[in-house]
Symmetry: C2
Subunit: 268 residues, 2 copies
Amino acid sequence: MVGTHAIKNGNLINTENAVVNIGRRDVQFSFSVYESLRIVEGRAVFFEDHMKRLESSAKGIKMKNSFCADEIDKWIKLLIKADDIDRATIRIYLVGGVDLFITASPILAYPDSYYENGVITYTYKGERLFPQFKTSNLLMSYIALEDSKAKGGFESILENRDGCLLEGTRSNFYALKGDELYTANDELVLSGVTRTRVLKIAKDKGYKIVFEAPKLLDIKKGLYDEAFISSTSMATMPIKSIDEYVFNSNFKQTMDLHILIRKLESKD
Amino acid sequence: MVGTHAIKNGNLINTENAVVNIGRRDVQFSFSVYESLRIVEGRAVFFEDHMKRLESSAKGIKMKNSFCADEIDKWIKLLIKADDIDRATIRIYLVGGVDLFITASPILAYPDSYYENGVITYTYKGERLFPQFKTSNLLMSYIALEDSKAKGGFESILENRDGCLLEGTRSNFYALKGDELYTANDELVLSGVTRTRVLKIAKDKGYKIVFEAPKLLDIKKGLYDEAFISSTSMATMPIKSIDEYVFNSNFKQTMDLHILIRKLESKD
């Protein structure tokens, strides 16, 4: 069953033994990077992209990664077999470059109503450290998301010092205006595995991609038709509202992209 | 012996069992706060100040602290007795507000030569998130310090977007000009337990305290006579150089403050 076992440096362990000692400097300083993947029909979706990003995240914070993609691939398969996994969310957690854990939990999925009605979001003023990389330095994301949840929100959208909406706490962010898709420049946000696909698919469908993060002020002026977020678990997820501003939309464009991304998963 | 045991939620455990499961959301998001204290002659130095800051750090990130100072005091004494501790550095680590660990390690002390010659420092451009609070969101500090160490430095001094030197990665920062002591405004830096004492002692000695973070440019112009950092383990520590700029000083003012702070410890 999903979650019974985990992997530590290639060894199958019981999940309750997936622990780190708090005396370790790398643990105390959040010197770790991670990846979240979907297992669908017993296969890790977009595995190579996730491995590339894990490597890039490690390099980005000057962490030596002692593990290679081939090993990790083998270990994920070992875990899939041990716990007879069909669908799951897998987390790869590289601590200090020297310990690599793989854990599995029931696949993260959202109710249909989220996709039909869009999700409520709130903004939070803050900028991520080393935004392109997926590190454990997540306190701001935690606080921003708690802040949004307390108001009934599903996600928090980070607003930088210039009033631009860059990304969510666990998602990338986009807004649509006519046939233009707006999103922050690559350097300013997480290099999302799903983001890469969103941009490719949108381009193929004829959208013009504008690498310019939408300003909150312009959103509130009604300059954009739709807005959405993306992540491995959400694919694209329509946004119903940002703070007090409610989009007057049926989210058709966002959901068209959604369907195409989910189709890619089975082709991967 | 120091380090044999640790405390978890009041229970004496072997230090190798001071672990957290990596599946926990608070662990994954670095949602924890901590304190480092000195044990000298079997007593926790400035204990009440550290407890106040622990409480303030928890509040600052909206973490409910399930533990009170009286309990923690009792548990530190339990650990001191169990491992027959005379001198040590104690770390209190509050994870998600629900698990409190106390670990001990040999007291952090620095060679006399550091105090005689001053330490080498390098600047790093970056600003801490929630700077007043002592949280585990320490990746930038880790990277900045590694960067300094790679160049032979002892500490890294964080330079904000305005070119001001705010604090070290594990210390507060000050510069002296005549009878004026310059340091950043309280809101911008860690509320250091030692910092509070530095400022009080300096004031008592006749210094005028100027809450204005020195600019790196002004340091390099030679506008300051001495510069130093402070922390629980260092008390005040003279700075020999910042980047390529070398102070032409015997560090007398810094070391006068140092002696007074260490005297306070035994009076506490």
